[in-house]
């Protein structure tokens, strides 16, 4: 389940962590709506549809990392449905001190490992976990490399293609995903295609419920290159590598969560203001504007927007915002809005000059 889960521990326990990101725009919702009121976001109802249609029959357990009240209560619904051998709500600490939040997090991870051990009897040794961490380090490096190439040459690969390639990593073993990413890099490192007269944008707000592919395509077709985003944030959550030469890799994973997490609407940002982090990203990615695209009824993302948009206003950074849901099927209005945004920047704006 999104947003962030340290998949390394499941890999080390000889398991496969599968990211459940909702039913998207492919799954017709019939039963899921009977479990959620109209004013609750779309993703949990499509997940209910999937589970009630037995799409998760082969799954051994379900882990719900803390994101918001809806996902927290969804964990309780899975418990009531009695699916899998275990259902765990992973309470990611909001205290970022090693001996306080860190110790609690270690216990949370050990609880998950115990549940997995009860299923397959695999003990996670430091060697196994160090190995798994190194594979996921490599995975993040490769994804970052693709984003870096796209920063300089966004015409070489569409944002929708990047999205699909990164999302594949949520359902296949990391070894296979790394091999795919390496092949992709070998392809996009060579020049191909022609640069078009598009603005460079950062898309923000899609950290949990994912936008439909059609929406990502629409933004790019309407005159933008998506240079940075918070889609599939979990795959890039840890900023940098995690130590792989340690006798206590659980602690290494914990330290990484405490010290190297990216910013997100699901993490309290005291002492680490999200508008400052966003500004750094805008500068480092050298974008022309920000598109705030959040799922309808998403309290965490939508409550961030006034804070982030104030920073944009104060810095004269252009932005637009709109809502979507994972099954949005009509993009005409969004295309017009994004197209106007793009045109207004291309035709009337001086390039954004922010001090690095």
């Amino acid at each position: 389940m999104p947003v962030y889960f340290p998949r390394e521990i499941i890999h080390a326990a000889n398991g496969l962590a599968v990211g459940i990101l909702g039913g998207g725009d492919k799954k017709l919702i019939l039963k899921g709506d009977a479990y959620y009121q109209s004013y609750i976001c779309h993703m949990p109802r499509s997940i209910m549809e999937l589970v009630l249609d037995n799409h998760f029959e082969g799954f051994d357990g379900f882990i719900f990392p803390s994101i918001c009240d809806v996902i927290r209560n969804l964990s309780g619904m899975f418990q009531l449905l009695e699916r899998g051998s275990f259902v765990k709500y992973l309470d990611l600490p909001q205290n970022f001190k090693s001996h306080i939040g860190g110790e609690f997090y270690i216990h949370e991870l050990q609880t998950v490992l115990k549940s997995v051990f009860d299923i397959n009897g695999v003990s996670v040794t430091p060697e196994r976990l160090n190995h798994s961490i190194s594979l996921f380090n490599r995975n993040r490096e490769l994804i970052h490399r693709i984003y870096a190439i796209r920063q300089d040459f966004p015409w070489r690969m569409t944002a929708a293609d990047v999205y699909n390639i990164v999302r594949a990593g949520y359902v296949i073993p990391v070894e296979d995903h790394n091999a795919i990413l390496e092949k992709v890099i070998a392809l996009v490192i060579e020049e191909n295609g022609e640069p078009l007269d598009k603005i460079r944008v950062l898309v923000m707000g899609a950290f949990c419920e994912q936008p439909p592919l059609g929406l990502i395509r629409t933004i790019e077709m309407a005159g933008c290159y998506i240079i940075e985003d918070d889609f599939l944030l979990g795959s890039r959550w840890i900023m940098g590598n995690i130590d792989t030469y340690t006798a206590d890799p659980i602690k290494a994973l914990t330290d990484a969560y405490l010290e190297k997490s990216t910013f997100s609407s699901s993490v309290y940002d005291v002492g680490n203001p999200k508008e400052v982090r966003l500004l750094e990203l805008i500068k480092s990615r050298n974008v022309d504007g920000v598109i705030f695209a959040a799922p309808s009824f998403c309290d965490p993302a939508l409550l961030d927007h006034p804070i982030l948009q104030k920073m944009c206003n104060d810095r004269n950074i252009r932005f637009i915002s709109f809502l979507y849901s994972e099954n949005t099927g009509q993009f005409k209005v969004i295309k017009e809005q994004v197209g106007t945004f793009s045109d207004s920047i291309k035709l009337w704006e001086e390039p954004l000059q922010l001090k690095k």
């Binding site: 009121q37 809806v70 309780g76 418990q79 205290n95 309290d299």
Partner: protein, 427 residues
């Protein structure tokens, strides 16, 4: 309906307590008392008061704004400042109130905070709310107390240890810094002794709905009963006196076989006994309540009155373990219970208080309550074969209170209860 609506002594005491609290707040800057903003669920007021500071609860301000018909304008103002229509209206009401001068329910300005105590229990939006407040009051220190969720249907020693460490190393040092006073464990223990007595009184009070007729309404009047313990009086001798007096009055009502007091007097005929899940609507509170008492429906238990603490399952604060006790209190609040625990608790209420039906008031703003409510309904229907009703409204956004819609649904629900009674009677 009897038209005797003379105020009882407990009502007068409560009114004075609340008025004095707001008076004290309004003069805090002159008296030098420090002000702490915090939340009702998991409100560790005993600790705040032990440092000589005054608590302010933004969601209480929001609900008061709702009852005073001011929330609609506040929400619109917050939306004009960029807040989405989709998000929690308590947050928007609070932001709007601040934009408009932060005038409290008594008409006096609520002082700015000296400390933002983010004790977030069972509601993720609290976290986002305080991120907003932190920017509205720049430079004010924030103390965060993360309350782990009871995901495994229990409180583990690790969860308690995590919270106690946060109290010792994050919360208490910041309180010392802001108040200028040292942590005094004896003061805290004394306050907890009062809380323990109050918790027992509260259980006794809400347990009186076992009687027929029920002497109280545990939802509409219940929200007044939980007022003092949820608005700054946890751990105070005034709270002990208030709840002792309230319990005494309710016992007198039982002796006299009196039904609950409503705004239009004593309810004379108890026709339906209900358990209600979810917070009430505040913008049309009286009209909402009237829909029930006009039909002779009394609420014998409600989950909302447990939002600031659940004592039904035996939990009481233990003054001998003050910090552990505060931690466990926070973890025991209703919205920090997982869905199975909520089903069990509601089931117990329905059975113990002989309810005829179960009603959900689903609140648009409150995912903490609302997400999962439909499954709770299914579980209770299956387990207890009890009639279930469902209505929708909002906390403080008047745009989401549809009187006719709610009335229609309630009338259908009451008809269903009536027919079921007839069937049971003839069976």
């Amino acid at each position: 309906m009897s038209k005797d609506v003379a105020k009882e002594r407990s009502m007068i005491i409560q009114k004075e307590m609340i008025a004095n609290h707001f008076m004290e707040l309004s003069t805090a800057k002159e008296t030098g008392k420090k002000v702490v903003y915090t939340f009702v669920p998991g409100n560790i007021s005993e600790l705040i008061l032990s440092f000589g500071m005054l608590p302010v609860y933004p969601e209480i301000n929001a609900l008061q704004s709702g009852m005073r018909k001011k929330s609609g304008d506040y929400i619109r103002d917050a939306e004009q400042h960029g807040h989405s229509e989709d998000v929690c209206t308590y947050v928007k009401c609070d932001v709007g109130m601040m934009i408009n001068g932060n005038i409290g329910p008594t008409g006096e300005k609520i002082p700015n905070p000296d400390l933002l105590l983010l004790s977030y229990t069972g509601c993720f939006t609290f976290l986002k709310w305080f991120e907003t407040l932190e920017r509205l009051y720049p430079g004010v220190p924030v103390a965060l107390l993360h309350t782990p969720y009871q995901e495994a249907h229990k409180i583990t020693p690790e969860m308690t240890a995590y919270m106690v460490k946060q109290l010792k190393e994050e919360v208490i040092p910041k309180m010392e810094q802001v108040s200028g006073n040292k942590y005094d464990e004896e003061k805290l223990k004394a306050a907890l002794r009062n809380s323990s007595k109050v918790e027992q009184h509260i259980i006794n009070i809400f347990d009186t709905t076992k009687h027929r007729p029920s002497p109280i309404d545990a939802y509409f009047a219940g929200v007044y009963y939980i007022g003092p313990i949820n608005s700054g009086f946890r751990g105070t001798p005034q709270a002990v006196d208030y709840y002792a007096e309230l319990y005494k009055e309710i016992r007198e009502r039982i002796e006299n076989k009196l039904g609950p007091i409503t705004p239009e007097g004593v309810m004379e005929e108890e026709r339906f006994r209900l358990v209600v899940e979810g917070p009430p609507n505040w913008t049309h509170f009286r009209e909402f309540w009237k829909l029930f008492y006009d039909m002779g429906a009394v609420i014998v238990a409600s989950s909302y009155t447990k939002v600031g603490g659940v004592y039904d399952m035996g939990f009481r604060v233990n003054p001998d373990k003050p910090l552990e006790s505060l931690a466990e209190y926070c973890m025991n609040c209703y919205t920090n219970l997982n869905l199975q625990q909520r089903v069990d608790l509601l089931s117990k209420c329905i059975t113990d208080y002989h309810a005829d039906g179960f009603l959900v008031n689903s609140i648009k703003s409150c995912n903490s309550f609302s997400a999962g409510q439909l499954m709770i309904m299914q579980q209770l229907e299956k387990k207890l074969e009890i009639p279930i009703g469902f209505i929708e409204s909002d906390l403080v956004d008047p745009r989401y209170f549809s009187y006719s819609n709610i009335k229609n649904r309630l009338e259908s629900f009451f008809q269903m209860l009536e027919q079921r009674k007839m069937i049971i009677k003839t069976a």
